[in-house]
């Protein structure tokens, strides 16, 4: 049987093999000869060449300077008392890498004055040490997370003992941490609430997470609202070891929510009032106006042929003005009704719709209305879209300076919306009126020149916006005329419907 001699210690080859597997290195120091011997594992650990002679001093050189004093202290103490030592330290290899080592040694009992013999082992614990560091880092990160989280945290174990309370929670309770941690949960919650919550806690410990909201009275009579979550904490084996209680103060959120609800209710009420007012006012104003119209008509009939003074001319003006007021009231009524539900959603062929509108409006002979093949089939309510297109086309006809022109209506799809365009080659609208034209009772020309209530575009804007769309305008091609564009939220009628394959692409100029 082969043997290796390390100092005075003889180690069999088998033992050596076993030691090598465990990663345990062995060394020996004989005070009588001053010989320091160590096995291959030790040499490897301390980065010492296998064939070079070694010494205690050489080994010490490899110990991290910060760890050396403690190491020497431990060894000397052991020598002085013929005892043992155990210490963890770092070895620095020649390439600068660091090994964590657990070193243990034993001084062989001896009489005073006799030379000493020390036997020792070295174990590489670098891996374990790295894992420990990782764990510590993770724990620190979790703690930072818990402390920076804008809520209250608390960990409770299976026995209803509080094991962790976040700083904010401590602050919130207003008691020292020691009075909370490692104390029964009932002390934190109060006995009454603990009893009340007991069945809930049991469910959480059985593995179910629970979330709820709760108002808590504060000193001074106010109340704060919390969103509370209890979440079970499971071991790797899946056993519930306790639970996390998380509370978030949502008082401000609730207040904002309430204020918002109130504001919305107020707004919708005042909106309704306004609509109601406009409706009633215009409706009730129509009755006396109708009477005036009738009376003017009779005067006109009875005074037929009467040519004294300006009677006929004035009667004509009176008739014109009452007609204007009537139209104004009709438009005001239409405006106030725009918000009301207007019919069922149907498959609407907008190409046909524009054709119908053109027929109905009966433009003067010089005006041509072109409905482009791009006008789609949509799923939408007919009445509001018809009114929008009719008002826009009618405007284009009415305001055309020469009564000789072309009005083009075309469309394209923009995601959920259809984009419509009504383009004329008229006088155009100066850009500074871009907001004004959509306001109520606004006309850009004297009413005696172009009859209009100034409500047409206001109605159009309201209808478009009520349908989730937007309306704007820009000059037409070559800077002539105006292109009104609006979006209309409506899906295409269906994929199976005949599509207009030869649709012209839109020239979007703005």
């Amino acid at each position: 049987m082969e043997e290796t001699r390390i100092g005075t210690t003889i180690i069999s080859t088998e033992l050596q093999g076993l030691l090598y597997i465990t990663g345990i290195g062995v060394w020996n120091y004989d005070g009588a000869t001053g010989r320091f011997a160590l096995d291959d594992t030790c040499r490897e650990l301390f980065d010492l060449d296998p064939d070079q002679p070694t010494s205690l001093a050489l080994m010490r050189e490899r110990i991290h300077p910060d760890d050396l004093p403690a190491y020497q202290q431990a060894v000397q103490t052991a020598m002085a008392s013929s005892g043992e030592f155990a210490i963890e330290y770092r070895a620095v290899r020649r390439d600068g890498s660091v090994r964590f080592i657990s070193g243990r040694g034993r001084v062989v009992p001896h009489l005073p004055g006799e030379p000493i013999v020390v036997n020792g082992v070295c174990i590489d614990i670098t891996e374990r040490h790295t894992l420990e560091q990782k764990l510590k880092t993770t724990e620190l990160q979790l703690r930072t997370l818990a402390e920076s989280f804008p809520g209250l945290f608390c960990y409770v174990d299976r026995d209803y003992t509080v094991r962790y309370v976040s700083d904010r929670y401590v602050e919130h309770i207003g008691a020292p941490r020691e009075a909370l941690v490692d104390r029964p949960l009932a002390e934190l919650t109060g006995k009454a609430r603990f009893a009340e919550r007991r069945s809930l806690y049991e469910q959480v410990l059985a593995g179910t997470s629970h979330s709820f909201e709760e108002g808590r009275p504060m000193p001074g009579g106010s109340e704060r609202h919390y969103a509370i979550t209890y979440h079970p904490d499971r071991s790797l084996e899946g056993e519930v070891r306790g639970f996390m209680a998380i509370g978030i103060d949502i008082t401000e959120l609730r207040q904002i929510e309430r204020a918002l609800q109130q504001r919305t209710a107020e707004l919708s009420r005042s909106n309704q009032d306004l609509e109601q007012f406009a409706y009633v006012a215009s409706h009730d104003l129509k009755a006396p106006l109708r009477a005036i119209e009738v009376l003017v008509e009779w005067l006109h009939e009875d005074l037929a042929g009467y040519e004294q003074g300006e009677v006929q001319e004035n009667l004509g003006l009176l008739k014109q003005r009452t007609a204007r007021l009537n139209r104004l009231l009709d438009d005001l009524l239409a405006y106030s009704r725009a918000g009301r539900d207007s019919g069922e959603v149907e498959v609407l062929d907008t190409h046909q719709l524009v054709t119908d509108i053109a027929t109905l409006l009966d433009p003067p002979p010089g005006m041509r209305i072109e409905e482009d093949a791009s006008l789609p089939r949509l799923l939408t309510r007919r009445a509001p879209l018809e009114q929008v297109l009719r008002n826009l086309v009618n405007n284009a006809i009415k305001h055309h300076p020469t009564r000789q022109g072309v009005i083009r209506v075309y469309a394209e799809r923009r995601g959920e919306q259809a984009l419509f365009a009504v383009e004329d080659d008229g006088a155009g609208i100066p850009p500074q009126f871009s907001e004004k034209v959509f306001q109520m009772f606004q006309t850009l020309k004297p009413r005696d020149e172009v009859e209009g209530s100034g409500m047409g575009l206001a109605i159009v804007k309201r209808l478009v916006e009520l349908h989730g769309g937007r309306i704007w305008f820009h000059p037409g091609r070559d800077g002539r005329g105006t292109v009104f564009k609006f979006t209309w939220k409506a899906p295409p009628a269906s994929a199976a419907d005949p599509t207009h394959e030869h649709a012209e692409p839109l020239h979007s100029a703005g």
């Binding site: 009477a291 009738v294 009376l295 009779w298």
Partner: protein
């Protein structure tokens, strides 16, 4: 022997509406007496105190003080008054619900105020009082 033509009973509180009614009759060339009541109660009194009157046609406005046209009609139906005379109601073009209520009370039809002459002519035809000037026996 010819008897004077039976009258038309109009219940309407609006002076201008009443005038319009008379003018429309004139335009149609109808020469019949129009008995005007200013509200439902007055019309009821006329029907009660002068039963011999028996109008050829009764025309009722809906909105009137004291007793509305529909209330009057309801009372007439309950008390079985002027059963043989066709009743028309005067409405504006958008009073859909009033029209439906009137139909329930078994009216002969309605006259839309904005096309008074045409409506009145139809009513007279229904009442057998057309062509204008024809004498009832």
């Amino acid at each position: 022997m010819s008897t004077p033509s039976r009258c038309i009973l109009l219940a309407d509180d609006d002076q201008i509406d009443t005038k319009a009614f008379v003018r429309a009759l004139q335009k149609l060339g109808v020469e019949r007496q129009v008995l005007v009541a200013r509200d439902g109660e007055q019309a009821w009194d006329l029907l009660q105190t002068a039963p011999a009157l028996t109008p050829a046609l009764i025309v009722l406005d809906i909105n009137m003080p004291r007793l509305s046209g529909l209330e009057l009609l309801r009372r007439m139906r309950e008390q079985d008054t002027a059963r043989g005379t066709p009743v028309f109601v005067l409405t504006t073009s958008d009073d859909e619900s009033d029209r439906l209520d009137a139909l329930e009370l078994d009216v002969a039809g309605y006259i839309v105020k904005s096309s008074l002459a045409a409506g009145l002519q139809r009513a007279l035809v229904t009442a057998g009082a057309w062509p204008a000037g024809e004498r009832q026996s």
